[in-house]
């Protein structure tokens, strides 16, 4: 697949990124308004990855966390810019491989995104917070693993798996439902193989 990382850097893509960052923010806001025990803060990053490809997805993710870190003073968010970048790239690659066409593919994409997030977040969690994630369920598992003498890295890995994989699964199911409902007029803006035809 030579088109895997090909990206069009036109105005449409540069407008997509802020919209995706806004969607991330709304997802997080709705999750907290409805008091859901999930983050749901990467809906926009996934949409960016699916519409614009891995590069745009990665930029969406990283820019999202950097902008929040530098404007709301939430230095915790800043640390996870790398994780968001990974999620955007992973979803973008899966979408370019044609996995977001069917529901089963969307679930597979969710697993890939979840595992990418776990692999990148675990070392960050250990370096910055000694292994905890700040999510009650995950941290309870971490406390249990430490009490039963398991290594910090393994406990932190479990902690992150319990939080990230269900979160990404639900995120991508929501994204799948949204993408399916988008008009062709909009998605065609981001298609790679559109050639301008001339009539003469």
């Amino acid at each position: 697949m030579k088109n895997l990382f090909k990206t069009k850097l036109n105005a449409a893509c540069f407008v997509l990124i802020p919209a995706c960052i806004g969607i991330n923010y709304l997802g997080k806001l709705f999750a907290s308004v409805l008091k859901l025990p999930l983050w749901l803060d990467s809906i926009g990053t996934c949409i960016g990855g699916i519409l614009g490809g891995p590069v745009i997805g990665g930029i969406c993710g990283a820019a999202n966390n950097l902008i929040y870190g530098f404007t709301t003073g939430d230095s915790i968010t800043l640390v996870y810019a790398l994780t968001s970048l990974g999620i955007g790239v992973a979803v973008g690659i899966m979408a370019r491989l044609g996995r977001m066409e069917k529901l089963s593919g969307a679930i597979l994409t969710a697993c890939v995104a979840g595992i990418t997030a776990v692999v990148i977040s675990t070392p960050l969690n250990i370096i910055f917070w000694g292994g905890t994630t700040g999510n009650i369920w995950g941290d309870a598992v971490f406390a249990w693993s430490q009490a039963s003498g398991l290594p910090v890295a393994f406990g932190s890995f479990l902690d992150e798996v319990i939080v990230d994989v269900p979160d990404k699964l639900i995120t991508l199911l929501i994204v799948y439902a949204i993408i399916k409902g988008l008009p062709k007029k909009l998605t065609s803006l981001y298609e790679l193989d559109d050639e301008v035809l001339s009539l003469d």
Binding site: L9, N10, A11, A12, F14, V15, L16, I17, P18, A19, I21, G22, I23, Y25, L26, G27, L29, F30, A31, V33, L34, K35, L36, P37, L40, I43, I47, A63, I67, G69, F70, T71, T72, G73, D74, S75, I76, L78, F128, W129, G130, G131, T132, G134, D139, A143, Q146, A147, G149, P151, V152, I174, A177, I178, G181, L182, P183, K185, L186, L189
Partner: protein, 257 residues
């Protein structure tokens, strides 16, 4: 219009300082304790940040930020104080729970790191207007396209929040429940978020056309309304911070020998 930025519009010396100088302070405050390795260096930078925040008259805005991070710090203290692998020496008992010295020291290091980062970032975030930051970045040679991307986030989000409130009211008036058991609340999520997402994505189309018409893809060099350059005091602060980082390296080498 409600803004998502925490910037406080006050005319103090901190607000007038060039954003790059303040970023340099963050760099020093985060890296020096990590390089130096001693706990007192965290204390030193915490004190400097507090002095800056007090003299910049923004200390009151920092308390909600600290309060938010306290829950995570408390979890870290509980988990490591009770269950850290290297725990040997019991420090004190709290009912049936025994807290250990090694775990608490480890937790203290992490907690101080979080607080230090938080306060250093607060000095930057509370005194820098996002639009000014983007302007300064562009003048330093940053791509104007990325500059547009950052500054439009600040316009798009309040707009989307407005749409979100409209849609929430509309769906509620159709009889959708947004309160109750977890299942009810989870079921409300899709009908709330998908109209906002679709409408904002459809808006991007119009926005892209509008930008293209106004020469967004033009390659010619951009000019600025206001030229801002690093002043003497900005350079002095940056030099001081570089000196502190060098000192922390020296301290590390000395304690190592």
């Amino acid at each position: 219009m409600k803004s998502i930025s925490l910037y406080v519009d006050k005319d103090t010396y901190l607000t007038r300082l060039h954003p790059f100088a303040k970023m340099f302070y963050i760099l020093a405050a985060v890296s020096a304790p990590l390089i130096g390795g001693a706990l007192w260096i965290y204390g030193l930078f915490l004190a400097i940040s507090l002095c800056l925040l007090i003299s910049g008259k923004i200390i009151r805005k920092v308390f909600p930020l600290i309060a938010f991070s306290f829950t995570i710090i408390i979890t870290i203290f509980l988990i490591h104080g009770l269950f850290n692998q290297e725990n040997e020496k019991i420090l004190f008992h709290l009912g049936p729970l025994a807290f250990y010295q090694e775990g608490l020291l480890y937790a203290a290091r992490i907690g101080l790191n979080i607080l230090n980062m938080l306060l250093a970032f607060a000095t930057f975030v509370l005194t820098t207007k996002p639009a000014d930051l983007v302007d300064d970045l562009e003048q330093a040679g940053f791509s104007p396209r990325f500059g547009y991307m950052i500054s439009s986030v600040f316009q798009i989000i309040p707009q989307m929040m407005g749409t979100m409130n409209t849609i929430m009211d509309a769906q509620r008036s159709r009889g959708m429940e947004t309160e109750g058991s977890l299942l009810v609340r989870a079921r409300a999520f899709i009908p709330l978020i998908s109209p906002v997402v679709s409408s904002s994505l459809i808006n991007t189309r119009e926005r892209a056309i509008a930008l293209e018409v106004r020469g967004f893809d033009s390659k010619s060099k951009k000019t600025f309304l206001r030229e801002r350059k690093l002043a003497g005091r900005d350079k002095a602060l940056m030099a001081l911070m570089a000196l502190l980082i060098v000192l922390s390296v020296v301290w590390r080498v000395l304690t190592w020998l």
